[in-house]
C-alpha cells in the first residue's frame, strides 16, 4: 500500500442523515450510497447495480427521491437525507408504508424493499404536489394533486426493480396508504 490519498482528493462534507448531522471527510469518488453503507453503517440502503438502473439505493434527499449510487456525496454538502432507517418514528412504530408492505407481503427476498418503500414515500409527495407522470391525463388540471390509481403507481415506481416479482402486492400496499 502506498501513501494516504492526497488531501485535494478529499473534502469535508456535512450531511444530515435521518435528522442527525455528520461531518465527513470524503473521497471525492464516494457516492451517497457508499457513504450510507460504509461510513454510517446504514446498510438498509442497498446496492443492486451501482449504475442507477435498479432503484435499490433509493433514498430521499431534501424530500425528493434519488438513486444514492448516482450522486457524488461531496456534491450534497448541507443536504438532508432520509433512508429507510429514518422512516420509523424512532420507537416500535413503522411508517404506514412499511406496515402496508408487511401486511400485503409486498416483498420476498427483501433486497429491493427499502428502495421501494423510500421511492413510494417520494411518489406520495410528488403526486400530492401535482407532479404529472407519463400516464397522467394531459388534460388534468396542473398544480392539483394527482390521484394515484394503479397505473400511476406502477408508472411512478418503475425505477425500482423487484426480481422476486412482488409488484402486484407493492401496488396494493401503496394503495393502502393513499
Amino acid at each position: 500500500m502506498s501513501s494516504e490519498p492526497t488531501p485535494e482528493h478529499r473534502s469535508d462534507t456535512v450531511l444530515t442523515v435521518n435528522g442527525k448531522p455528520h461531518t465527513l471527510r470524503l473521497d471525492h469518488r464516494r457516492v451517497l450510497l457508499d457513504v450510507l453503507r460504509e461510513d454510517l453503517g446504514l446498510t438498509g440502503t442497498k446496492k443492486g447495480c451501482d449504475h442507477g438502473q435498479c432503484g435499490a439505493c433509493t433514498v430521499l434527499v431534501d424530500g425528493r427521491r434519488v438513486n444514492g449510487c448516482l450522486l457524488l456525496a461531496v456534491s450534497l454538502d448541507g443536504c438532508d437525507v432520509i433512508t429507510v432507517e429514518g422512516l420509523t418514528d424512532g420507537g416500535d412504530g413503522l411508517h404506514p408504508l412499511q406496515q402496508a408492505f408487511l401486511d400485503r407481503d409486498a416483498f420476498q427476498c427483501g433486497y429491493c424493499t427499502p428502495g421501494q418503500i423510500c421511492s413510494a414515500v417520494g411518489v406520495l409527495a410528488e403526486a400530492g404536489a401535482g407532479h404529472p407522470s407519463h400516464v397522467t391525463d394531459p388534460a388534468a388540471p396542473s398544480g392539483r394533486p394527482v390521484p394515484l390509481d394503479e397505473a400511476e403507481i406502477r408508472e411512478r415506481l418503475s425505477g425500482n426493480l423487484c426480481r422476486c416479482g412482488a409488484y402486484p402486492h407493492i401496488v396494493e400496499a401503496v394503495r393502502d396508504v393513499i
Binding site: 435498479c54 420476498q108 433486497y111 426480481r163 402486484p168
Partner: protein
C-alpha cells in the same frame, strides 16, 4: 401429520418481514467488521487464450491498495468439483469475463481503481461462441442437468409423424437469460486464528462450507457460513460462486476481513446463465386430436469449463399421452461463460416450446387448446409408465378457464381489435417435478413452554423461517407463536439447498421428524424440563431420497391476455392468471407471492428478457439492468395465482410439492399463444420485442410450418 393441523396452510406473516421493511436485515456485504477491506475482481478481456503477463505495479502504487492476486501469487486450491471455482489457479482464459486478478484495498473506490490499473497481457486464440442447430461439434451427452438421460425414445415417432393426418413441425428459440437477483453475489470472509467465518449470498450454506473445506484443506468444523438473509438467487446462488472463494483467498493473504461484492455487469459471465436452447418439435395427431407421436429435440451450449446441459426436452416425457416419442438433447461446447441453473432449468424453456407447439396443433386441428390438452391427458407418466402420485392438470385448466372467462373467447385469430391494439388470449400448461433431498434438523422443548427448531435452511425470499415454524407447530400441536426457528447458519444441523423447489419439502420433512421424536420423548416425561430443555434430532437420509414408485410432479395452467400495438409492435400483458396443483399449500400468503413472482419472471422471458452472445467479442451484450430488461412495475398488470389443494400422501409428511419454480413454467408460452391469437402471426423466437413483432405484422405471411395434409 400428527399435529393439530391448525398452523399449516395459514397465511402467517413472514418472521423476518419487519427487519426487511426497516432495513435491519443484513445481507452478505453488510456486516460491520473492524478493519474490513474490499476486493474487486478483474475480468479477462479476451474470449479465449491465456494470460502471458500481469503488471500489478501501477495498481499496487495506488492509495489504499493492499494486494493484487493473480494466478502467479494466489493461494493454491485443491481441485474443485466445480471447475468454475478454480479461480486464479492457472493462466488459462476459457471465456471473456473469467477472472484473472483480484485487487484488494481499503475502500470500494480504491479497489475499483486498483482493478482498473492492473495490466494484463494475453496470448489470444480464435474463439467460437455461436450456437447453431447444425454446429459440427454438437454431440449427444450421456445425461442432461439433474441426471436425466439425454435421449429417451419409444415407439416409432418418425413413422407416426410420416403417417399422421395432422402434423406440426416447428422450431423455437429461447435466448440466453440471466438470473439477476437484486442482490449481486457477495461474500465477506474473515479468519480468526484457524477458524474461517464467512457471510455469503448463497442458496445453501451447508454446501458452501463443504466446498470451502475441500478447496482450502480445512476441517468443516472450523468453518462457519452465515446465510441469514439472501437477496434472491433464482438458481444463480445454488452452489458456491467465485466471490466466496476469492473473499477467502484475499482474507488469508491480507489477514483482514474482506468483502467481495460482484459488480452487476460481471454477473452474466461468472455466476451462470440459462443457456440458449434451439428446439425442434414434431407433433403427430389423428384427426380426432389425439397425439400419435411427440418428438422434442433441443440443441444448447455449454462452456469449455464444464458440461451443463439444459434439460429442456424433459417435460415432454411427462406431459402428454403419445404412443411414440423421442426426446433428445445435444450440446455444443463453446468459448462462452458457463451456464447453470436458472429458475426451472429445463422445464422453463422446454415448456415454452412444447406448449407453443401444442397451441399450434390446436390451431391446425381447429380445436380449443384447453380441450386438446385435456384430450391428451395420460393415464400414467408416458416415459416411465409410473402412475402419478397426483395429477390435476385438467382441474387446473378447467378452473383457470372458468376464472379467466375463457368461454367468452372468439377462437379466431385477429378477431378482436381496440383501435390500433390487437387483443388476444392464450393458455399453456405447467409442470415441475417434485424434488426432495435429505436434511437434518433438531427440535428442542424449553421449560418456558416454547420450542426451538434448528436447521440450516436458507431463506432466499421464500419465507423459510415462517413455514418451518408452521410445520413444527403443526407437528407438535402447539400455537405457532411458541415456535422459534433458527436457520441460515452452517453451525446448525446440515440441510440441503434452497433450489429445485425442494427446500420446504426437504427441510420440513426433517423438522417434522425431529418434532415427532421430540413429542415422543416429552410424552414419557413428568415434571419441569431441565433448563437446557429436551431435544431430538432427525435425519431423512435414505427416506427423502428414496426412489418412489410414483411419478411425482406439480402441474398448473396459465392464462394470459395481451394487446399488440399494430403501429409500434409493442406487446403488453393485460392480465395473467395461474391455477396450480402443487400438493398442500403450507402458507397461503408466501405461496401466492412465489407463484406470482414466477409468473412475472415468465412475463419477462416472453417479452423483454434476452441476451445476445456477441460473435466478435465473445461477450454477453446485455450485461446490465439497462440493456437486459427485467420486468418493471409498469410491465406487470393484474397477476392472479390460485391453487387446487391436493391431498397426496406419497410426497412427504406435509403433503407438499415445490412451488418456487412452477409459476415460471409455461407462463411465457401462454403469452406467446395470446400474441398469436391477437395477431394471427406465430412468433417462434423469444423475447417478443417490438422489432420482431412489427416485422412479423408487416411482412409477408410466415411460411406455413404446420397444417393439415390433403
Amino acid at each position: 401429520m400428527t399435529g393439530t393441523g391448525t398452523a399449516l396452510g395459514a397465511p402467517a406473516v413472514r418472521r423476518e418481514g419487519r427487519r426487511k421493511v426497516t432495513g435491519g436485515a443484513r445481507y452478505a456485504a453488510e456486516h460491520p467488521l473492524a478493519d474490513r477491506v474490499h476486493a474487486r475482481p478483474v475480468p479477462a478481456t479476451v474470449a479465449r487464450g491465456r494470460v502471458t503477463a500481469v503488471d500489478t505495479a501501477a495498481a499496487l502504487a495506488l492509495p489504499g491498495v493492499l494486494a493484487v492476486l493473480t494466478h502467479e501469487n494466489a493461494p493454491r486450491l485443491a481441485e474443485p468439483d466445480d471447475p468454475t471455482l478454480a479461480v486464479l489457479q492457472d493462466p488459462g482464459v476459457p471465456h471473456r469475463g473469467w477472472y484473472v486478478a483480484l485487487a484488494v484495498a481499503r475502500t470500494p473506490e480504491e479497489a475499483r481503481a486498483a482493478a482498473a490499473a492492473v495490466r494484463v497481457e494475453y496470448a489470444v486464440e480464435e474463439h467460437d461462441v455461436t450456437l447453431t442447430a447444425d454446429h459440427p461439434e454438437a454431440y449427444e451427452p450421456e445425461t442432461a442437468n439433474a441426471g436425466y438421460p439425454a435421449r429417451r425414445e419409444y415407439g416409432d415417432p418418425d413413422g407416426a409423424f410420416a403417417s399422421a393426418p395432422v402434423r406440426v413441425d416447428v422450431t423455437y428459440r429461447v435466448p440466453p437469460l440471466h438470473n439477476h437477483p437484486m442482490e449481486p453475489h457477495a461474500s465477506t470472509a474473515r479468519w480468526e486464528g484457524d477458524r474461517l467465518l464467512v457471510h455469503t449470498s448463497s442458496q445453501g450454506g451447508t454446501a458452501v462450507r463443504a466446498t470451502l473445506a475441500a478447496l482450502f484443506g480445512l476441517p468443516e468444523d472450523r468453518i462457519t457460513v452465515d446465510t441469514a438473509h439472501v437477496g434472491g438467487g433464482f438458481g444463480s446462488k445454488g452452489t458456491p460462486r467465485p466471490d466466496v472463494v476469492l473473499a477467502v483467498m484475499a482474507a488469508r493473504e491480507t489477514g483482514r476481513p474482506v468483502t467481495v461484492a460482484l459488480p452487476r455487469r460481471h454477473l452474466p459471465a461468472v455466476v451462470g446463465h440459462r443457456a440458449p436452447t434451439l428446439h425442434r418439435l414434431r407433433l403427430a395427431a389423428g384427426a380426432d386430436g389425439r397425439l400419435t407421436g411427440l418428438t422434442h429435440e433441443i440443441v444448447t451450449h455449454s462452456s469449455r469449463v464444464k458440461e451443463f446441459v439444459e434439460q429442456a426436452a424433459v417435460p415432454a416425457r411427462v406431459m402428454y399421452a403419445a404412443p411414440s416419442s423421442r426426446t433428445l438433447h445435444r450440446v455444443v461446447r463453446l468459448d462462452v461463460p458457463t451456464p447453470s441453473w436458472m429458475r426451472a432449468p429445463g422445464e422453463c424453456p422446454g415448456m415454452y416450446a412444447l406448449e407453443s407447439a401444442v397451441d399450434e396443433l390446436a390451431t391446425a386441428l381447429g380445436t380449443d387448446p384447453v380441450e386438446l390438452r385435456v384430450l391428451n391427458e395420460p393415464e400414467r407418466e408416458p416415459d416411465s409408465g409410473k402412475p402419478f402420485s397426483s395429477r390435476h392438470l385438467t382441474e387446473c385448466l378447467r378452473e383457470g378457464a372458468r376464472r379467466f372467462g375463457w368461454d367468452r373467447r372468439d377462437p379466431r385469430p385477429r378477431s378482436r381489435a381496440e383501435g390500433p391494439l390487437l387483443v388476444g388470449t392464450g393458455v399453456a400448461a405447467a409442470t415441475y417435478p417434485v424434488l426432495v433431498r435429505p436434511s437434518t434438523a433438531e427440535a428442542r422443548a424449553l421449560p418456558d413452554g416454547t420450542f426451538v427448531v434448528r436447521v440450516n435452511a436458507t431463506d432466499i425470499g421464500t419465507g423459510a423461517r415462517t413455514v418451518l415454524a408452521q410445520v413444527a407447530a403443526d407437528t407438535l400441536g402447539v400455537p405457532l407463536e411458541r415456535v422459534r426457528t433458527e436457520i441460515g447458519d452452517s453451525d446448525l444441523p446440515p440441510a440441503s439447498l434452497a433450489g429445485g423447489s425442494s427446500g420446504t419439502a426437504s427441510w420440513g420433512w426433517a423438522v417434522h421428524d425431529a418434532c415427532t421424536r421430540l413429542t415422543g420423548r416429552l410424552g414419557g416425561l413428568t415434571g419441569r424440563l431441565p433448563d437446557e430443555g429436551i431435544s431430538a434430532r432427525a435425519d431423512t437420509a435414505g427416506r427423502a431420497d428414496a426412489d418412489s414408485p410414483y411419478a411425482r410432479h406439480a402441474f398448473g395452467a396459465h392464462f394470459a391476455e395481451v394487446t399488440v400495438d399494430s403501429v409500434t409492435g409493442e406487446v403488453r400483458v393485460r392480465r395473467m392468471l395461474g391455477v396450480f396443483a402443487a400438493g398442500r399449500i403450507l402458507n397461503a400468503r408466501t405461496a401466492r407471492s412465489q407463484f406470482i413472482g414466477g409468473m412475472t419472471m415468465g412475463l419477462g422471458m416472453a417479452l423483454t428478457e434476452g441476451s445476445t452472445m456477441d460473435p466478435a467479442f465473445g461477450d454477453f451484450t446485455e450485461s446490465d439492468l439497462a440493456s437486459y430488461h427485467v420486468p418493471a412495475h409498469a410491465d406487470v398488470p393484474a397477476v392472479e395465482a390460485h391453487w387446487i389443494d391436493e391431498d397426496d400422501t406419497r410426497l412427504n409428511p406435509m403433503g407438499s410439492k415445490g412451488i418456487g419454480e412452477i409459476g415460471n413454467v409455461g407462463s411465457a408460452a401462454a403469452i406467446g399463444n395470446a400474441v398469436h391469437h391477437a395477431t394471427g402471426v406465430r412468433f417462434r423466437e423469444l423475447p417478443l420485442t417490438p422489432d420482431k413483432v412489427l416485422a412479423g405484422l408487416s411482412g409477408p405471411a410466415p411460411a406455413p410450418t404446420s397444417g393439415r395434409d390433403g
